[in-house]
């Protein structure tokens, strides 16, 4: 059996180690202070895809990402870890997209890619935390979806069995192919980059990267076709520009505030069990813990 697998991945600012310079004065993200990384749950998604390929080696894993030209890093990172190829959607018209415009663009690109059996994405990205893009893509493609997946258990007779990690338990769901799956951070960590693959793909570039900088290894792009990464614009995926980027985004940011946490009141407890217990009860009651 061979599966055509598409992995949706996003390049995000690393919000896990936010310092005081993470936001600019005007309330926008200071991208210079936050390194751009592969969205962590998308790496979990990639691992699930690669495990399917381990099981069915004839399968292909294709990455799809949307972002500025430097998001080509996502495709390369995927190639280093075992993906077969990828597409970068990059165009000024895609910029400023909310989840609706993003899922529109991604779904158009998937239509362009054509046939697929499984689309896998991370549950949510650490910059927006919406968890909407995966489900919206599934809706736009009119395919079923399984969210919060932790492990793909089996693929048999055109059906997939998936373990879902829910708030208070585990659920095993079965679904017919094709479908879209979003993967939780509790799923297996992604395998490391592979030494041979990094040597093979390290010079891979998109057309705009090739234009941006002269490359002493340029002759390789002709003799080694796998070094040419595919970049698509709105036109390439037959997208309606009105539905892309800012113009396709009903979400408008009204205001961003820089919230600085500071203690407003303080309490002094003595070391008695009664006082500590009272504090625990209070913290549970106001949902600080528990």
């Amino acid at each position: 059996m061979s599966l055509k697998i598409i992995v949706l991945a996003k390049q995000v600012p690393d919000t896990r180690n936010v310092g005081k310079d993470a936001m600019k004065e005007d309330g926008t993200v200071n991208r210079a202070a936050l390194p751009a990384i592969f969205n962590p749950e998308d790496l979990n998604a990639l691992e699930q895809a690669l495990r399917l390929k381990d099981q069915y080696p004839e399968s292909t894993v294709t990455l799809l990402t949307m972002g500025p030209p430097r998001a080509a890093d996502i495709i390369r990172e995927g190639l280093f870890r075992g993906a077969d190829g990828g597409y970068l959607l990059t165009d000024r018209a895609f910029a400023g997209a909310d989840t609706l415009a993003t899922s529109y663009a991604l779904s158009m690109a998937i239509r362009k890619i054509g046939q697929f059996d499984v689309i896998i994405s991370g549950r949510q990205a650490i910059d927006g935390d919406t968890a909407q893009v995966g489900p919206q893509v599934a809706e736009k493609l009119s395919i079923p979806q399984i969210t919060y997946a932790e492990e793909i258990l089996a693929v048999k007779n055109g059906k997939i069995t998936v373990k879902r990690r829910l708030e208070r338990g585990v659920e095993v769901a079965e679904c017919a192919l094709p479908l879209l799956i979003t993967v939780n951070g509790s799923a297996a960590a992604c395998r490391p980059r592979n030494s041979k693959r990094i040597q093979k793909y390290k010079y891979a570039k998109t057309p705009s990267e090739k234009q941006a900088a002269a490359d002493e290894y340029a002759p390789l792009f002709d003799s080694r076709d796998y070094l040419n990464l595919v970049e698509w614009s709105t036109a390439d995926i037959d997208a309606d520009t009105q539905q892309c980027g800012l113009s396709g985004s009903p979400t408008k940011v009204k205001k961003i505030e820089n919230v600085v946490f500071q203690a407003k009141e303080s309490k002094t407890l003595d070391a008695s069990d009664a006082q500590i217990e009272a504090l625990i009860v209070e913290l549970i009651a106001n949902h600080t813990i528990g």
Partner: protein
């Protein structure tokens, strides 16, 4: 996100040594592999870039997977279940991660599935692995058995086993027996020819076999019935898939507890001769041991790195008398000494690895074509240097690992004696390094030859002839004086022509050579990267100078008639 390569600038420094250009060009044979393998480099810069990237991958796997597992692996350890070794769960996870990262068979040729990296790069991964977990490092280092298989096995054997090792199967070298430890000539494991099945059969017992339940074993066994010495021993390949070797028990050790040290029983185990009969010990095991010693040198260096980092972190964190204890000279001078010994160990480690790279690659080239006279001379020179530096470096790096681990505990004070900090594991793990693959005492036996024949002195003179930045002149002058003292002491001891006396002073002479050589190596490091190495160069040379003076005092005032009190 811990990365044991990118957080340690000294590794990059050694990876980019000027000699690497020559090594890479030899290793890559005009970059001919680029036409056949999509991951082969097309020029020197491309190769170096690949080494960098793969070291980063290794550093990440080691920092993110192996290091966090170390404590659990040390506590759990392997077990024997139904005569088979079951690794601690962390060990299995480590192995899987390194396999997925494609790090197995780093130094093997690409046609067998390897990366064709120089030994220097492989040793660098060993150095990093040991910093994370010296127990796992033993499994890692045993990849080096493939070098021996590659060098001495026939083409069929290479094609059968090396790709399996490159795909992640583990190896072991089965040498030691209950009555054959340092003295391997006494090996008794019996090998009998089985012409009917076109193989050999092994019967007997091996002991202290690291990773003894590995997939592919190299076994030293007695093939010549009736013989008693090393000339009756041959090397065999045993494939676990064939069966016949069981694990009777594993040792309960003081350190490197994650590494299964096995007692093995061979019951008519099917095996294949590797290389020629009777050359097992005298040729192949000697080569195997040299590779293994280099691996231990790397393991010891990694342990010193770990000891230094633990000690430094604790000294910065721990406050007494109103300040961090690092601010007390009594503590900071210990840290300076640990760092100097660490940097010195690493310098001789990579110097030796480069020597090995040059001579082994030339030997490999020689299999394809005749070497010209210059190449032959080069091969001879570097083989001799590798021979001289391997025991010296192993002795120094492993003794320093012990001293550094000891001092790291001392800096931790009472807390260091508890099981709460990694320094106690490092201390236990370091203790084996100056014992296995030849004790320090045996390294001295191998090294003294090079003291007496002048190999060390010749190389010291090469270092002396190098032009360095002028601010290093004062240190160089002190090293010149150390060299003169060393030369004088060697002459003084050698001219007695009394072998007992020479053996008695051997350790001191080897140490004097070592202090001088390590001093020069650090000087050369400081010449290339002043900021990074000047402190260690200053601290080490001051230390080495005082040590040489101590040795001089002992030898010059020693009355040879007093030797009787020591024998």
């Amino acid at each position: 996100m811990a990365n044991f390569y990118t957080d340690n600038p000294s590794l990059k420094h050694h990876l980019h040594h000027p000699l690497m250009q020559h090594i890479v060009e030899l290793k890559e044979r005009n970059f001919a592999d680029a036409d056949h393998f999509d991951y082969a480099p097309i020029d020197f810069a491309d190769a170096m870039d690949s080494y960098e990237k793969v070291m980063e991958i290794a550093g990440e796997v080691i920092g993110e997977v192996i290091a966090p597992n170390a404590e659990e692996v040390d506590h759990t350890g392997p077990q024997v279940v139904n005569n088979r070794v079951v690794y601690a769960p962390g060990t299995t996870e480590n192995l899987n991660a390194t396999i997925q990262a494609g790090l197995s068979g780093l130094s093997m040729p690409r046609r067998y599935g390897g990366l064709n990296f120089p030994m220097t790069a492989f040793i660098m991964t060993t150095d990093m692995v040991a910093r994370a977990d010296a127990g796992f490092c033993t499994l890692w280092s045993l990849q080096d058995c493939a070098e021996t298989l590659y060098e001495f096995g026939d083409e069929e054997q290479r094609q059968k086993y090396i790709p399996r090792m490159c795909a992640g199967e583990t190896m072991s070298m089965d040498l030691t027996e209950p009555d054959a430890g340092s003295d391997l000539q006494a090996v008794m494991l019996k090998a009998t020819e089985d012409p009917e099945n076109g193989c050999w059969r092994l019967n007997g017992v091996k002991r202290f076999i690291t990773n003894g339940d590995s997939d592919i074993h190299l076994v030293l066994a007695r093939s010549e019935e009736g013989t008693k010495d090393g000339r009756g021993l041959s090397m065999f390949i045993y494939d676990k898939r064939d069966g016949g070797v069981n694990v009777r028990r594993i040792e309960n050790k003081m350190g490197i507890k994650g590494s299964p040290t096995c007692e093995l029983t061979y019951k008519n185990a099917k095996a294949y001769l590797c290389g020629s009969r009777k050359l097992g010990l005298i040729r192949y095991v000697m080569s195997l041991m040299n590779g293994a010693r280099l691996g231990i040198m790397a393991q010891a260096t990694g342990l010193s790195e770990a000891a230094y980092r633990e000690a430094l972190a604790y000294a910065k964190d721990r406050r007494q008398f109103g300040k961090a204890i690092i601010e007390f000279p009594a503590v900071s001078e210990m840290l300076a000494a640990i760092k100097a010994k660490l940097d010195a160990s690493r310098s001789i480690l990579y110097e030796t690895a480069r020597f090995v790279d040059i001579y082994k690659t030339l030997e490999d080239v020689e299999k394809e074509r005749k070497l010209d006279d210059a190449e032959k001379a080069e091969l001879k020179k570097y083989k001799k240097l590798a021979d001289a530096y391997t025991p010296l470096g192993k002795a120094f790096a492993t003794e320093y690992a012990n001293q550094n681990a000891y001092d790291a505990i001392q800096i931790h004070g009472g807390s260091g004696f508890m099981k709460d900090y990694p320094c106690e594991r490092i201390y236990r793990d370091a203790r084996i390094t100056n014992i296995y693959e030849g004790t320090t005492q045996l390294q001295v036996v191998a090294a003294i030859r090079h003291v007496l024949t002048g190999s060390y002195l010749t190389q010291i003179q090469t270092y002396q002839a190098e032009t360095l930045r002028p601010e290093l002149d004062p240190l160089k002058a002190r090293l010149t004086k150390m060299t003169n003292t060393y030369e004088k002491l060697v002459a003084q001891v050698a001219e007695t022509k009394n072998n007992d006396y020479i053996d008695f002073q051997a350790r001191r002479l080897v140490e004097a050579a070592g202090h001088t050589i390590l001093g020069y190596l650090l000087l050369s490091d400081a010449n290339r990267d002043y900021e990074q190495f000047i402190r260690s160069a200053e601290v080490y040379i001051a230390y080495g100078e005082a040590e040489v003076a101590k040795i001089q005092q002992f030898i010059e005032s020693f009355d040879i008639d007093k030797l009787q009190y020591y024998l």
